[in-house]
Subunit: 273 residues, 3 copies
């Protein structure tokens, strides 16, 4: 696999519309700038269709969804799909409340996103149509391991085929499928989970990657997942003994800003299952 998505993003500088949570929105904007894309955040129902029409991709993140932004996500999503733009759904906390589960399912069915990225508990909730998630982190019982990898791959392949979407589950082992092919990515650091929003950042980067890969290739998704993980590895290697998760947060974005396609290609560990 060649590492070409990164260079394509930098060449095209796609405008990415984000309707995203207010917890991690600043990092989402800066990571899009770091990779060479351009962010625009807009969430009012009065303007989201116009804004998304200007853009090349859309990221819908339900992390702090509310009564005003849910209709915005649905109408922006439908408009983007009608225009042939890629749409990424990040179902943050699906399973933790009825509102989150129902909203994620509505986006799934009414928008039909190009990519769905979440932790295993969120994705299980969407695949099964209900679920109980403990907050915004995956349940330990759900974790993807070498032992249950094949079974998880089958489960996700079936869900992706049914959803007609690329499904991406991130965790200790990342796994992604378009309903036919399955890739795993074995990169990253467990400490990335101690920085709020690394998942949100990846979802936005996927929207940028798909914006320059009009066919929505699974390869571009795998490469972007690997890029985020490799940034986490590079950043962790630079941490001093007094540095903590706040410095790590900064270094991860910096590492994406400085990443070259060669560096990524040399470090990424993508396997076809």
């Amino acid at each position: 696999m060649t590492s070409s998505t990164l260079d394509q993003i930098r060449a095209a500088s796609p405008l990415v519309h984000c309707i995203t949570n207010y917890v991690t929105v600043n990092d989402v904007a800066n990571v899009l700038l770091a990779i060479g894309a351009r962010p625009i955040m807009a969430d009012d129902p009065e303007e989201v269709e116009e804004i998304t029409a200007l853009c090349a991709g859309l990221c819908l993140n339900i992390g702090t969804l509310n009564a005003r932004t849910i209709p915005s996500m649905l109408s922006a999503g439908k408009r983007a799909r009608a225009l042939g733009h890629p749409v990424v759904l990040d179902p943050v906390g699906a399973g933790a409340s009825r509102l989150r589960t129902e909203t994620a399912l509505r986006i799934l069915h009414e928008v039909r996103p190009t990519v769905i990225r979440g932790n295993i508990s969120e994705i299980r909730t969407l695949a099964v149509g209900s679920g109980t998630t403990q907050g915004v982190d995956a349940d330990a019982a759900d974790a993807v391991t070498e032992e249950n990898l094949a079974a998880t791959a089958d489960f996700l392949r079936a869900f992706a085929a049914r959803a007609e979407a690329i499904v991406v589950v991130t965790g200790a082992i990342d796994i992604m499928t378009d309903g036919v092919t399955v890739y795993t990515v074995r990169n990253g650091r467990p400490e990335m989970g101690l920085v709020t929003g690394t998942g949100c950042q990846l979802s936005a980067l996927l929207a940028a990657a798909l914006a320059v890969e009009p066919l929505g290739l699974l390869a571009a998704v795998a490469e972007t997942v690997a890029l985020m993980d490799v940034a986490g590895e590079i950043a962790w290697a630079q941490m001093g003994e007094r540095d903590g998760n706040a410095t790590y947060r900064t270094c991860i974005i910096d590492s994406i800003y400085r990443m070259t396609a060669e560096e990524l290609a040399a470090r990424m560990n993508i396997t076809k299952l």
Copy 2:
């Protein structure tokens, strides 16, 4: 006093629900991760009762309150109390507008929070039932000093007894009481006031601390106040000559991530009045 709360938080990793302002929410999430807790932000009336039921503690921060989130704070707060969960109220800017004063008083009376943490002007406003605050900082005229410490302690003790809450006032000298016992903490740096949200961060950490201290012990509160202050001291000592408040912001959270119970015990300056 032993420094045990920190290790208990790390062992239990409590999920903390925050309905908090959008100015400092990212730092609040990262400081909870730094101490070993897990944050979840959710503020829509449709889901806050469900979300708070999953959690072990709740932090209500009125820093950017609005017509949609005020009912969320009240219903989440009541549900959390009904479940026996600790609730921290951070009455940001109480006294600066009628909306803030009235909302803080409603939360005080209808939710009956476990802990109320603010600057002296905010706490005076709540205790007296009205007030005029200049923005979100304490008025210089209100400052707690060695000279007025005993009188302030009496005032706060009476308010805490009436509110049946632990009341925490942070400033140059921090003072906290459960209506009977009064502790002071003499740690921290004045420059912490030049980083937006160090108070918001402390309020969220208090929710995490109380979540693992089911009796709501004043000692756990004092230790957590000291922990935030000691992190400010350690971080300040690392500042280079070109570093400013933005680097300080990062270093404070890093210092909490790296803090050990021994380090905290060696530096914390807690006195029973």
Copy 3:
């Protein structure tokens, strides 16, 4: 030109009310603290008039405007003007949606802001009364260059005279006018555009500067524009080879925190056209 605004802000420590977007709000608060001012963010219609009355300046930024905050901007703006407080309008993305263009024009006509600061595409949209902007960045076709500088100055001078406001366009060359005099600032770094919110930060700093310059002097505006740019230069000079836009974000705010009037005076490149 002497560099006096910075010292005046530090001496007066003005309280600045911001109704601003949730993407960059934390940086806006920290940059106000870095320069010596005090931020307060409040956006609910029920409280914004009271809050702005406590303050010495107001910054209205439409970056994530919505149905609830648009009336807040109008009523806070009118109240601030009635009290003689300076009001800065940052028309983020004017031209990118009808809602943004119309809201910016309503603020322009109903509030009559003291200063309007944007990129050239946003300002053209306001001056012409309609426009098409590609997102929140200036269109390349609109860029201010040495070749079109005189024509741009004439255009802006006419708009500023009509709006009875100081108009500030930031870009590779910054240009500002009160409808009579025109200044340019040639400082800064192109990489500042890769940190989300440097424009938002400048707009808030302008509100702080005008709060201590009751005459709304164009000189104070020019100096503050130069200050932001010089901070970008100083911060860039400190960047290591692995640092990226996230570290740069931190260093820019730090550089404002550490800036002295002498340092600024020595580096700022302000020209009267």
